[in-house]
Symmetry: C2
Subunit: 254 residues, 2 copies
């Protein structure tokens, strides 16, 4: 049995709590957060507190708060014997104030509030100062996911950067697609099967080999027509830059 | 029974042929293409020919060739009575040389060679000069898809532009993600669940409301660290421009 205290009450805290609660080998002893309203999600399911000076003993502490608050929050755990981890993609393990037993428990996924998700396929990136702690974190992660990786702080930084491209930036491209549909009085539903299939394809084929479109085939006529069609200047810039990048990338290889 | 002749032997021609072949109410009478090697895919399944002056009579002709070749190929069909359509997102219906009975049969999807796909969810965008022909094309499309739309040439242009953003450009972002992983000796598999979930989210939530990440929350520290991490100048430019676009978009709304 691994005992866990979760610090934080947001999206990731709630998803981790839900998946841990289903495991007989994990006990979430307490959830700690300043946000008493968000804490109500956990009420009656485990002990909750807004008092950071009153955190219980546990094998693993999971700090699931905003990146900026991790260091501050970790100070309340300085004297704990358990492993103190955070869940962030971009914060170094060393940002946790030294208790001599630090780690990272980073689930590489986008979470939607209130939307349940299967953890089994979510990669969980583990890092720990001590070998013993790494073993415990791996055990904990393996209970909820089939996909557990040892990832160092510097590797995690690269991974987080890559995630920004395939998640944050991709989502912005979806937004632009939705905007273009709206302006033409077309339903965004028309694009949804294409969005899904484009993502599915990336799981099967190296995206480099899946590239298609006017930029790849240097179809200047279509690209010019598209640029003319775009009203939003920022979207024009994005179209031009991405087309140029694709053109150059595949141009060299022709 | 609707009789069809397919002109072209590439990816879309093969996928359309396969799905039509499963319909008892459709008969693909012939496939016509200059590419005798690609034609072998259809051999023994229907009649094939490389002779464009020898095209059979049919209710519907589907020209599934490169955008640039549509006009040229359509000249061979000038005297046919059937509906002459093309499958392109960006070519106007009027590009078909006038036989008085033109149309468009545009499946809005990305097709992978050799990878079967369910047509049922693929939006098929229909356009036709004559009301009667529109009815026939709708009937044909409805046999293979649950999602048939009337889309004019100008609407189709907007749709194709939007598709470039959510498919071609998104795929390029996947490529960059894969590149960053490769440079850090990390498996691209780590990003695949995130890619899938990001796409799934767009089907449930307006992407505008799903936006997250350093740019959205104006986390300059992380953005600067990311820019420093990027070695490829083009990728730096893309990071900067997309971050800026997201920052501005959500900045105004705060």
């Amino acid at each position: 049995m691994i005992s866990v205290v979760i610090i934080g009450s947001g999206n990731i805290a709630q998803h981790l709590f839900s998946v841990f609660s289903k495991q007989s080998l994990v006990k979430v002893k307490q959830v700690v957060s300043r946000n008493s309203k968000a804490l109500s999600f956990f009420n009656s399911k485990t002990r909750i507190t807004t008092d950071f000076t009153n955190i219980e003993e546990a094998d693993v502490y999971i700090i699931a708060v905003n990146d900026d608050a991790i260091a501050t929050v970790s100070q309340y755990l300085k004297n704990k014997k358990g492993i103190v981890t955070h869940t962030s993609g971009s914060v170094a393990m060393q940002s946790i104030k030294n208790n001599g037993n630090r780690g990272v428990f980073y689930p590489l996924q986008t979470f939607t509030k209130g939307q349940e998700i299967s953890f089994k396929e979510i990669p969980i990136c583990i890092e720990a100062e001590k070998e013993d702690s790494k073993r415990v974190l791996k055990e904990l992660a393996s209970l909820i996911s089939n996909s557990v990786y040892n990832v160092s702080s510097s590797e995690r930084k690269a991974l987080h950067l890559a995630a920004v491209f395939v998640n944050n930036f991709t989502n912005h491209l979806y937004s632009i697609g939705a905007e273009i549909c709206r302006e033409a009085n077309l339903s965004f539903d028309l694009l949804k099967p294409l969005i899904t299939e484009t993502a599915n394809k990336a799981a099967l084929i190296d995206p480099k080999n899946a590239q298609t479109g006017p930029a790849k085939r240097k179809d200047y006529k279509t690209m010019d027509a598209h640029l003319e069609l775009l009203k939003n200047e920022k979207n024009k810039d994005i179209y031009a830059l991405l087309s140029d990048a694709i053109k150059n990338k595949y141009g060299k290889e022709l």
